[in-house]
Amino acid sequence: MQEVMKKRASELLADGTVVRVLGWKNGEFAYDPTPAVFQTVESLEAFVYNDFCASNLSKYLIKFLRQEGKTLVFLKPCDSYSFNQLLTEHRVIRENVYIIGVPCDGKVAEDKLREKGAEGILGIETEGDQIKVKTLYGDLDLNKKECLGERCLSCKSHQVVVFDEMLGENGEENPDCGRFDMVEKLEAMTPEQRFEFWRGELSKCIRCNACRNICPACSCEKCVFDNPASGISQKAAADSFEENMFHIIRAFHVAGRCTDCGECSRVCPQHILLHLLNRKFIKEMNECYGEYQAGAEAGSRAPLVNFTMDDCEPSIIYTKEAGK
């Protein structure tokens, strides 16, 4: 796939269709590619697409689409939902981007390799579902399925929902992905248990903002938490309340706009299960206002900027809880 992508990128750069290519560049090791912009055919030498190209590229388009010329971007299924959402919010301009959809069967997470004992990694080779990790302390034969990132285990869709051309076979939605299983598990707990669970998770937060800054929905010119005039700006959680506050407000601000790409949890250096907050909102909105998948369709109206006259009352939440 990588070579096909390189070839198409070279062609489109060469014939002037696009002036830059947004993709991934190889890293120091096999597992650390970085999102990168390629402006010449020669520079595409470093272009890489492998099981570790997890970064969602769509958010970068906000920046690049303000520059002149058309940008070629490779979008995985997850990323394409984000792109549509940005399109809905007028953050990107469709005409200024050439989208090549690339299929994805899940990305491998570095920390899963570490969990399986991979330290002193000297090289990684993948063949089908087999991952051979060569390390200073011996070689490991791993199964790719067991090394996928958490979000890929409950992938909602293998379908690229917006593209100009598709490389390879486009996948399908996966309604039985079970992505709400963990949310349901939490819902079944007592409030005390839930409180303890979330205290445990959120107290790990170091407020590095990685979750926010990688989030395609968190693309505010200035975040309220960085804005002293907002009255709630904070640089660090100086009290346990502030840990909660940051994540609640963030989840609220992206509610109805979050496509569930899972980048927040992927990048959290403290491995907080942040996506469970977003998924709760998605689940609740689905239940209260009908199924809605942000980014499935550009221009759709998110549940929180919409209403019907006979919406449920907020007290339904208490009724639901009592019913459990």
């Binding site: 010119e221 200035k222 009255g231 601000h253």
Partner: protein, 666 residues
């Protein structure tokens, strides 16, 4: 930190009775920003206002907090006072320590403590108040009256008299409304048409009045001083400008069996028709559901007989768009449907009629040419029973159509009916069954007493339980006499039911278009039940006639005139000052995501690409929101939809509200 002055009102003992006002003033005086704090028996009095004015000057106050009654009561008063002393009127906050404190709490200690907290919240807020200057918007000097009954007519005439153009939109082919159907009017018994027709004619002739008959309001946008209204003119298939009202088409039209609305279906009309002789405009209309030409493409007789060439089968409905400074709702009423009242046998017997049907029977242009006759056999009734409060004053409506309110007009028109019967046909026995007889109004009780004393009408306190049609065509009325406490059986020839009245069905959708509020009965709500009875809470929308609540003709005309005078007052201004508490977008923080525009009910938010390029950062063009301050009404929906906080609301800014929260919770 601003220099704040605090003024605590005793409101006589209204506040001072349960709040220790001295302690409140003293405690608030110690707040960091407060440079002056005092109390006074009546802050709203001239002397009280002078204390505020003097303090502003003497202590160089930069913000004022008045702890008093609800801001809904005196905020405007104190703003004026503050303004008179040279301070921006929006640098004032009112802490509501009466309605929401002293009147609620009995305990002096708790009341005082709460008053202090409310005062602190107001101090915290006023610290952040921005001096606001109300913008101005021009006033379109034209009014719209929706509904062409007596209410609408009177309102329009009065506005037109003051020299302003006014349009009447009437959904029927003619103006006139219910009053055209009425025979005589109480308490003077003068002929309804005789007093109404001249007014209708005046409407037609007044240069300032345009009548859009057979038309309905389709959409309303805009705001006070600057409404934009789409009026749908239904096709009447007759050119209004050519038709002379000669009536030949209506005579020649072969379709003769259409129930006549004017006679409430008690007689028939043609498919081509003029509702009644005095119709304004006196123009025919083709009933598109019944006209053979329009339904089957054949006939065309009317076109051939029309010497004016006014018939136009191809006529389409049109949309007229017009701008108005003010809108008056005068949508009137209808009697409720009483089919549900089986006990009165309304559906079973032709001789059980509603009061309005009875009016038609009495009136000279009615189905019986004004002769009192039974509709079943044309015989003159010898015994007539009137039943009051059919569907009015019903609690927990068992019939599904009853109303809790009193319809107000029934007692009087029933007295009138009874009197007319007895006068014209002295051999008739007339019974009136009532719960109460309500006759407040000039010469009303005298009128009712005349019916009883002079005309010998039998008034019986008690409700009719059942009306049973008999084989001989008579009606057996079963009732209880509550005074003599006995069951009565009256064999009647005719029963007249005083059906409750309800707002016209067109009022609810209209209210939605006007964003005017309604009560649970679909009567329009007035801005203040006592002090602003002819204004809707929605600025620029006024209320005339029964659409606001049941009333009789004199009251309707009085209210119509009052509404007109309010409209005239508005149109007399060249410019209106806008509510300055509107949304505002900070372009530097705006993402251009359209969340705010999605929730704005007024379409007040627009977007534009703006250049934010800086030397170091290169080109940067961003889509940013801006708010049309004249259109924004200040609800604040956008402020919460905006994730970045770029959108804020003046007067109720995020920081102001949070400062209040902080002060209350500390």
């Amino acid at each position: 930190m601003r220099r704040i002055g605090v003024f605590v009102c005793h409101c006589g003992t209204n506040i001072a009775g349960t709040v220790d006002v001295k302690t409140v003033a003293e405690t608030l005086g110690k707040e960091p920003a407060v440079v002056y704090a005092t109390d006074y028996p009546y802050m709203c009095s001239e002397a009280g206002q002078n204390i505020i004015k003097d303090a502003i000057k003497e202590y160089k106050l930069e913000g004022v907090v008045v702890c008093s009654c609800s801001p809904r009561m005196h905020e405007a008063t104190f703003r004026k006072a503050v303004s008179a002393a040279g301070l921006n009127p929006y640098l004032l906050e009112v802490a509501n320590i009466r309605e929401q404190c002293s009147w609620i709490h009995k305990d002096m200690e708790a009341g005082t403590a709460k008053a202090i907290v409310l005062g602190r919240a107001a101090i915290a807020k006023v610290q952040l108040n921005a001096p606001l200057i109300a913008g101005e918007s021009p006033v379109v000097k034209r009014a719209l009256v929706i509904g062409g009954g007596i209410a609408g007519i009177q309102t329009a005439l009065d506005i037109a008299d003051a020299g302003y153009p006014v349009d009447i939109v009437e959904k029927e082919p003619t103006i006139g409304g219910k009053m055209t159907q009425i025979d005589k009017t109480f308490p003077t018994l003068d002929c309804s048409s005789c007093i109404l027709t001249p007014k209708m004619v005046e409407c037609a002739q007044n240069e300032n009045i345009t009548i859009y008959s057979y038309s309905e309001v389709e959409a309303v946008t805009g705001f006070v001083g600057n409404f934009s209204v789409k009026i749908r003119r239904k096709a009447r298939f007759v050119d209004e400008n050519k038709c002379t009202g000669c009536g030949v088409c209506t005579e020649k039209c072969p379709v003769k069996n259409v129930p006549d609305e004017y006679n409430l279906g008690l007689s028939n009309r043609h498919a081509a028709y003029i509702p009644f002789a005095q119709a304004i405009p006196n123009v025919a209309v083709l009933d598109k559901n019944r006209c053979i030409k329009l339904t089957k493409g054949k006939c065309g007789l009317c076109s051939t007989v029309c010497s004016a060439g006014a018939i136009d089968y191809e006529q389409k409905e049109t949309i007229v768009e017009e701008k108005y400074g003010a809108i008056v709702a005068a949508t009137g009423y209808n009697p409720i449907k009483i089919d549900g009242y089986d006990e009165f046998a309304y559906s079973q017997s032709k001789d059980v009629v509603t009061s309005l049907e009875f009016e038609r029977i009495l009136k000279a242009d009615g189905p019986t040419d004004g002769h009192l006759q039974r509709l079943s056999d044309g015989k003159q009734p010898k015994t007539i029973v009137f039943v009051q409060c059919v569907g009015s004053r019903e609690s927990g409506s068992s019939h599904g159509c009853g109303k809790e309110y009193c319809s107000k007009i029934c007692c009087m028109y029933t007295a009138k009916h009874a009197m007319l019967c007895r006068e014209k046909y002295p051999d008739t026995d007339v019974y009136v069954f009532y719960i109460d007889v309500r006759t407040p109004g000039k010469n009303y009780d005298e009128f009712y007493r005349r019916a009883v004393e002079q005309y010998g009408v039998h008034y019986i306190k008690g409700m009719v339980g059942k009306v049973a049609p008999q084989a001989d065509g008579s009606l057996m009325v079963q009732a209880s006499d509550l005074i003599s406490n006995e069951q009565l059986h009256v064999k009647a020839d005719m029963v007249v039911l005083a059906a409750a009245i309800e707002p016209d069905k067109s009022a609810r959708p209209l209210a939605t278009m006007l964003t005017a509020s309604m009560d649970t009965n679909d009567f329009f709500t007035e801005a203040h039940a006592k002090l602003r009875p002819v204004e809707s809470p929605t600025a620029g929308v006024f209320l005339s006639g029964v659409c606001q609540g049941p009333k009789d003709i004199p009251e309707t005309v009085a209210q119509a005139g009052a509404a007109a005078s309010k409209v005239i007052g508005l149109l007399a201004k060249d410019k209106l000052s806008c509510n300055p508490c509107v949304a505002h977008s900070n372009e530097m923080m705006c993402n251009g995501c359209s969340s705010c525009a999605n929730v704005c009910p007024y379409g007040a938010i627009t977007y534009a690409d703006k250049d934010f390029s800086r030397r170091q950062d290169g080109s940067m063009i961003r889509r940013v929101a801006s708010v049309n301050e004249a259109v924004c009404q200040g609800c604040g929906a956008c402020t919460v939809a905006c994730p970045s906080g770029a959108m804020d609301l003046k007067g109720f800014s995020t920081s102001q509200i949070m400062a209040e929260v902080d002060a209350i919770c500390k």
